[in-house]
């Protein structure tokens, strides 16, 4: 969040930035929505707040309710329960066309019969802005997105990346308090997608408009947002900084949906001196107790889940395995994959479970079938989930 603000205030030109700096631009309070005939709730008691100038990524698999949530914020869909506040006002029952929230759609939804500048001017015209200021504001925003030369073109006559910028310009020209982006980068190829995303972030910071990006792409969510909200089965599983989402996922769903990692069955051994003791098969592992999710007292012998990312682990030659204090287990290499800057190994442990480990290409090469020990790197905190939580937040597919 901190990174956004400094830039916002330094931009003196935008009223939106100033207006946004003092109040919460958007607050969603206990939103629930169930579609008839759909059994399970599409959204179940969802709440969050947006800080001025903040970028929030709303990340979830398809069917997680993220699009419904966006439609509720934009006013296209009414929630069954809960409220949407924009600034100080309760917008829950305000029609979409009176909300003034900017939206960039997945397919961009540019008006095919209007030119670029007419598309951008549409919102101003609907608000009854006089012609002269219409022209000035359209010119200013087209200059901002570098499209002045294309003002008189039709959407069919410009490239995909240019269309993205027109859609952005059209959404921000009215200086909305909040901007909603509904997977607008999805249709582009990877390289262009990254460029456009970087450009959007730059523009967003210049304008200081609080922005929500809805996406199913975890990499996009992590790199775009000051914070990321992970949505699954209509609930927010975790809302935190991208770093925290990656390093300290709140539940097995977040752990496995964002980034790579291995989720393994373990048995609770107890807690001593700031360490949690877990048994993975015959191996006893003592790891940092900060990795424990949930505060409930856990009975010894309770089934648990243990989560590690491949870059939290390292491999030892089988002969040296006994010397390590932080062994996860011994096993043999069952798969090896080159991923550019590292090798990705799958190690089949003696317990029968498989764990993924990243190894630098500089380290000695290992072959399939080699006996190795898997060790936790120092300072890493593996996640320890209670099985009960797994059932609650499991995937609903």
């Amino acid at each position: 969040m901190q990174h956004g603000r400094g830039v916002t205030v330094s931009n003196s030109g935008s009223q939106a930035a100033l207006r946004g700096a003092y109040t919460t631009p958007l607050r969603v309070n206990s939103i629930s929505k169930t579609y008839p005939g759909n059994g399970a709730a599409t959204l179940d008691n969802v709440s969050f707040e947006l800080a001025p100038g903040e970028r929030l990524s709303l990340l979830g698999p398809s069917g997680s309710g993220k699009s419904t949530l966006l439609h509720i914020m934009a006013g296209f869909v009414k929630p069954d329960e809960g409220e949407v506040y924009v600034g100080e006002r309760d917008f829950t029952h305000v029609a979409a066309h009176r909300r003034g929230i900017g939206v960039v759609f997945q397919n961009l939804a540019l008006f095919p019969h209007l030119t670029v500048s007419q598309n951008v001017a549409f919102g101003l015209r609907m608000r009854g802005v006089d012609r002269r200021s219409q022209r000035e504001r359209v010119e200013r925003v087209l200059k901002l997105v570098n499209l002045e030369e294309f003002a008189q073109r039709k959407p069919s006559q410009i490239s995909g990346g240019q269309k993205q910028r027109v859609a952005f310009a059209r959404a921000v020209v009215t200086e909305p308090p909040v901007l909603l982006l509904d997977e607008p980068f999805g249709a582009l190829d990877t390289r262009l997608r990254e460029d456009i995303r970087a450009e959007f972030i730059l523009l967003q910071e210049r304008l200081g408009i609080a922005t929500i990006l809805v996406t199913h792409d975890q990499e996009e969510a992590l790199s775009f947002g000051h914070r990321v909200a992970v949505l699954n089965g209509g609930k927010i599983c975790q809302i935190a900084s991208p770093e925290d989402i990656y390093e300290a996922p709140a539940d097995p769903f977040v752990a496995t949906f964002v980034g790579k990692g291995s989720l393994m069955a373990a048995v609770w051994g107890g807690r001593t001196g700031g360490k949690a003791e877990l048994r993975l098969g015959s191996q006893v592992l003592r790891c940092d107790e900060r990795g424990i999710r949930g505060n409930a007292a856990i009975a010894a012998g309770a089934p648990m889940q243990f989560f590690v990312r491949p870059d939290w682990l390292s491999l030892l030659p089988g002969s040296e395995a006994d010397r390590s204090e932080a062994m996860v287990g011994r096993g043999t290499i069952s798969r090896r994959r080159f991923a550019g800057d590292h090798f990705e190994y799958d190690v089949e442990l003696e317990s029968g479970q498989t764990v993924m480990v990243n190894v630098s290409p500089l380290e000695p090469n290992l072959k399939l079938g080699d006996a190795v020990g898997v060790e936790l790197r120092p300072g890493r905190v593996p996640c320890i989930f209670e099985m009960r939580r797994v059932v609650m937040s499991g995937r609903q597919s």
């Binding site: 929230i101 939804a109 008006f111 039709k154």
Partner: protein, 280 residues
Amino acid sequence: MNTTFRSAVLLTLPVLIFVVVLFVLPVAMLLLSSFGLPDQNGDVVPSFAAYDGIWNARTGKVFLTSLAISLSVALLTTVIGLQFALIINKMRPTAASLLTVVLFLPLATSEIVIGYGWLIILGRNGVVNLALQGLGLISAPLSLLYSPAAVVVGLTGLLLPFSALPILTSLSSIDSNLYLAGQSLGASRLRMAFEITFPLVRGAMLSGAAVVYALAMSAFAIPSVLGGQRVQTAPLNIYINYINLFDHASGSAVACMLLILVMIPILLFARGKNLLTGRV
């Protein structure tokens, strides 16, 4: 370039032959015969006599009647067709396809049958007159048949699909996100109807109207059944010239005039299409 051109010619050859033999040749012969027919010796003396012969108030009235009827039909089918398309577009798929089939029924039926159907409805003892009398709105039956209005009603029913279908096609191809975008930019439903829907179906409305106009101008069965002797449209006049008066030259001259009147709006439309639909 050369091979592309040759293969293009080869590929279009069947259609080209079809069009030349069945359309261009007959029309050319028609055009020629309006400038004089061969006499007993087989000599053709070119003359404008046929055109002089039809250059009078009577033929003028025939064309005015045709124009008035066709333009009314084009206008009515466009208005009703738009309504139809808007309704079908909002329906669930099964109901929509059912209504589309109903819309096409007139085309699956002989025009004569439809014409006689209207006779039953609009006749002195027809459904409309009986209903109006039953309601006490009129005391004596109205004569609804054998008027330009009856012809307009009949042709509108018959030609409605030619207008409704293109409108429906373009309406259903409008991305529904455009309306969400419109809403998010502050447009009410009414504004969106004028700012988004109308501009995007305008091209289809005009192309439908052009087709309906052309078909109405050249319609024969419905005007002859519902118009009787009192309403003489251009095709009826051609028929009378050819069959009743054996005046082939005058018939051809009227036919040529009709052809020009039908072509004008279609050519205008073809030229303006790009501008009107906003597509390039």
